[in-house]
């Protein structure tokens, strides 16, 4: 536990000081706007450019790192709406810091419904504004949570050789959750994971894309057979899941193996986000990456090795575009020739294979044959 704290909270100040810095951060931006107007200039808010074009990847650091490219949100016809919304979101954030309250991103979206013309039309719109502010705040060492905005979704599910040590929210009493004793259910990763502790004798963590596969492995108590921890990601892992895995590996040094579909979405969106973070929210990747994660399968080579050719689907246009994007624009894949080769192999084959395709050889082929054979030869994993 001490290890994690030393790694993570090294530049994090005590909460009250943090609040003061959050308020100062918001005030500074508002004052810049007001001063520009007083000088008869069009006001502007500098926003960090988010996206793959402004990130770099260093395998030593292990995550996609945000570059320094800014875009200036000057008051023009095209930006006035986002400009006003940015300021209003910041004003709302300030109120919550003052009253020590918080809002989920969904709630924040609904709060805007009281803003007349300025209201958000949909949540992606409010999420984008919030990401902008969060990116800006991250430069000042402030997280979204400090701005009092929280994620809507909780994390995935956990089962297997792990005991989670939590506290009672009111009394503070220690509560231990034994993830082996949850029957056919699983432990649900909470929204905030910083306070959790872990005890385990497992040998590795298996992060699984689909709920279906997680259920199969859990019901057949695969974790017992392989002495591992099963984590269900349910698509692209949420921040809570990513943070949970990061804390778990920081504490225990367990390797994390990813078991996802063999398609560009599985590689570039699910696996890359888990391992190196996302391009769109690169400002937080530092805390939300799992640099030691490795890609167990399903790899393009597995399609040959396990004769899954007749259990595949053709790549869609979106798949192909995503694959090209990964090869050409993603600094993460650019760092690994193995990945480039694998993706090119997949696009040459022109097909994709789901985890469930293994059921071609029987429902439990995955437990009895596939996973044991893969784990026996870790050199077949992708980095």
């Amino acid at each position: 536990m001490a290890k994690r704290h030393s790694k993570l909270k090294v530049d994090v100040a005590p909460p009250t000081d943090l609040d003061a810095r959050t308020l100062a951060f918001i005030d500074a931006i508002a004052n810049r706007v007001k001063d520009s107007i007083a000088r008869d200039e069009l006001p502007a808010i500098d926003i960090l450019l988010r996206g793959l074009s402004n990130v770099s990847y260093d395998p030593e650091k292990g995550y996609l790192e945000l570059g320094a490219t800014h875009k200036s949100r000057t008051l023009t016809v095209n930006t006035i709406r986002a400009f006003a919304q940015t300021l209003r979101v910041m004003a709302a954030s300030r109120d919550m810091v003052k009253t020590d309250d918080f809002a989920t991103k969904r709630e924040a979206y609904y709060v805007s419904k009281n803003w007349g013309d300025c209201r958000f039309d949909n949540q992606p719109e409010s999420d984008a504004i919030m990401d902008d502010i969060e990116a800006l705040a991250s430069q000042h060492g402030l997280s979204r949570e400090q701005l009092r905005y929280y994620a809507d979704s909780h994390g995935g599910a956990v089962a297997g050789e792990l005991t989670v040590i939590d506290h009672h929210p009111e009394t503070g009493d220690v509560i231990e959750v034994d993830c082996r004793n949850l029957g056919s259910g699983a432990y649900s990763i909470p929204r905030a994971v910083e306070h959790l502790g872990f005890r385990t004798n497992a040998e590795f963590v298996l992060a699984i894309e689909t709920g279906g596969m997680f259920q199969r492995l859990n019901n057949h108590q695969y974790w017992k057979k392989a002495n591992c921890i099963l984590v269900e990601m349910a698509g692209v892992p949420t921040r809570a899941t990513r943070r949970f895995l990061r804390c778990l590996t920081d504490d225990t040094d367990l390797p994390v193996y990813c078991f996802v579909d063999c398609d560009p979405y599985g590689f570039a969106n699910i696996y890359r986000t888990l391992k190196a973070g996302s391009g769109n929210a690169a400002h937080i990747n530092q805390f939300y990456c799992v640099p030691h994660a490795r890609f167990l399968g399903v790899t393009p080579r597995d399609i040959h090795d396990y004769h899954l050719e007749d259990a595949t689907h053709p790549l869609t246009k979106t798949d192909i575009k995503r694959a090209q994007d990964a090869i050409q624009n993603d600094p993460f894949f650019a760092a690994y020739p193995e990945w480039i080769a694998a993706i090119e192999q997949l696009t040459t084959m022109g097909v994709r294979a789901e985890q469930q395709a293994l059921a071609k050889w029987g429902l439990n082929f995955v437990i009895d044959e596939y996973l044991p054979r893969k784990l026996a030869d870790k050199s077949s994993f992708l980095p």
């Binding site: 005030d27 107007i37 109120d95």
Partner: protein
């Protein structure tokens, strides 16, 4: 040849039937040629002829015209039309001939620009009245120097084309000078584009120095007030230009001339011919013609040669002194006071020539509906939205967005209401590519836009398509001049439309920005704990900054 004797018999029989046809009798059978083909057209023609005469008389006497037009229904279903002017009046001896003899007048033999041309109009009205209701014209006229007015009724002896005067007497009239003509005709008072009201309105547009008072049969009345106190410049009479005449006219001039030599004849009786040009023409003629040939003795073959020579020798273009264009300022004033629009542009082209006749083209465009919302850019760069109420000036003549452009045609300041299809003006408008100026236009149609197009042709001799003077013959030179003028105005319209579109676009953008300004204010107030006044001050300042930075 078999029956030689029968020829003289037939010729005798035919001779017995052949007799002189009087002009009046000709009219009886061909009244459509003079604009009396239908009851509603007859009513309009009656007003038109009387008003044209009144205006010509006033202007010739240097009087600002003020004319009253009264139309009323009579019990016997006939129409009573009275037109009263403040002109110089007509001396008693002339009254009968002016109103009771066809083709009598002062205008036919002089080459200068006037409304009437042949001296046919008002007598034809009398003829039509006589034909349809049997009532003679009722005339009242007073010359300023006389203490009383002359009142008389005049009818036409159609067989002899001679006036017959009844009940002539001297009466008191409170009008110091002027003439009043009253006709009872079989007519129909109608509304619309061919109405009397439309004719008067268009007259008011092309004659901004004229005041008209109208009173209709259903108690309706309206006035067109003059906006200018400047009389049109009086065109001088000019001699015919050699290029404009036809062979028959040349032969007639040769026999009528006072000149004793051909050289003198050419020099004195034509415009733009000096001694040198006259010499060249004679030289070019051959056929034993010399400078000293006696004009009255020139034979037919010789005159043909002379005519050909005239066509060959270069002669300078006719002088424009004989033309009285409306002028750009007065044309725009006339349009502005009678047509409610957003944008006006006018153009008077330089004089040009067709067949030796000088003419001048003027064009005016009135664009856009005046009533409704408008954007205005002030000198500080701010855009204001204003809503204007419709003026409902009667009769209505406004640019309409859902209809083709409205075409106003004028010849020598007289509106042309009928036969739009056959007119040189229409031809030129259709030939113009209005797409180029940002307007919709179907192939071979008028542009589809809220637009009034005015075209005026001023000329000493307007080539009308018929005696009813409803359309200008489409000579290529005339059509081309009109098209050039339309194109020039079209370009100015396009610039206006482009500017209007830019202002509209900028206004939409500013409206969008202004929608969010209060929110910037609220957020800044919340974060920086500003007072309401401070917030308003910041937003006002921001608005000013935006307007300044976005100045068009």
């Amino acid at each position: 040849m078999a029956n030689e004797h029968s020829h003289p018999d037939i010729a005798d029989a035919m001779a017995a039937q052949q007799r002189e046809i009087s002009v009046s009798e000709f009219f009886l059978k061909n009244r459509h040629l003079l604009g009396f083909d239908s009851p509603s057209k007859a009513a309009l023609t009656t007003v038109k002829e009387a008003v044209d005469n009144a205006l010509d008389a006033c202007e010739e006497a240097g009087i600002l015209p003020e004319i009253r037009i009264e139309v009323s229904n009579q019990t016997d279903d006939s129409l009573r039309i009275a037109v009263e002017d403040n002109g110089p009046g007509i001396v008693e001896e002339q009254l009968g001939r002016i109103f009771g003899k066809l083709l009598y007048g002062s205008k036919f033999y002089k080459l200068s620009q006037s409304r009437g041309q042949q001296g046919m109009g008002i007598a034809a009205v009398g003829m039509y009245a006589q034909l349809t209701t049997g009532k003679p014209l009722h005339i009242l006229s007073r010359v300023e120097t006389e203490p009383t007015a002359t009142e008389l009724f005049v009818s036409i002896n159609t067989a002899k084309n001679r006036p017959e005067i009844h009940k002539k007497k001297r009466v008191a009239w409170d009008c110091p000078h002027g003439t009043r003509v009253e006709a009872r005709i079989d007519g129909n008072y109608q509304q619309g584009n061919h109405s009397i009201g439309m004719y008067l309105k268009q007259t008011a547009i092309a004659n901004s120095h004229v005041t008209l008072h109208f009173q209709g049969p259903h108690g309706e009345q309206w006035d067109h007030q003059r906006s200018s106190v400047e009389l049109p410049h009086r065109p001088v009479n000019v001699k015919p230009h050699p290029r404009g005449i036809e062979l028959g006219q040349l032969i007639q001039m040769l026999s009528n001339t006072q000149s004793r030599t051909l050289l003198q004849f050419l020099e004195n009786d034509f415009a733009r011919v000096g001694r040198k040009t006259a010499g060249k023409i004679i030289e070019e003629s051959h056929h034993n013609l010399t400078a000293r040939s006696y004009p009255k003795r020139i034979a037919h073959l010789q005159s043909q040669a002379l005519y050909r020579a005239i066509q060959k020798v270069p002669v300078s273009a006719p002088s424009a002194d004989c033309l009285a264009p409306i002028g750009e300022q007065q044309l725009e004033e006339g349009l502005r006071k009678e047509v409610d629009a957003n944008f006006y542009t006018v153009l008077t082209r330089r004089p040009a020539v067709y067949r030796g006749n000088a003419f001048q083209i003027e064009v005016g465009l009135a664009y856009g509906q005046a009533a409704g919302a408008h954007l205005e850019l002030d000198e500080r760069g701010h855009i204001h939205k204003t809503v204007r109420q419709p003026t409902h000036a009667k009769p209505e003549l406004e640019p309409h967005p859902d209809e083709p452009a409205f075409l106003l045609r004028f010849a020598n300041r007289v509106p042309l209401l009928y036969d739009q299809e056959g007119c040189a003006i229409t031809k030129a408008v259709l030939q113009t590519n209005w797409h180029a100026y940002g307007l919709d236009q179907a192939k071979g149609a008028l542009p589809h836009a809220p637009l009034v197009i005015l075209v005026h042709m001023a000329s000493v001799w307007v080539p009308y398509g018929s005696e009813a003077k409803e359309a200008i013959a489409p000579y290529p030179e005339i059509v081309k001049e009109i098209r050039l003028a339309l194109q020039c105005c079209g370009r100015k319209l396009a610039i206006h439309l482009h500017h209007e579109a830019r202002v509209k676009d900028e206004f939409d953008k500013r409206t969008h920005i202004e929608k969010y300004l209060p929110h910037v204010g609220i957020a800044l107030q919340q974060i920086l704990e500003l007072s309401d006044e401070e917030r308003e001050r910041v937003i006002k300042r921001l608005d000013d900054v935006l307007q300044e930075k976005r100045r068009l």
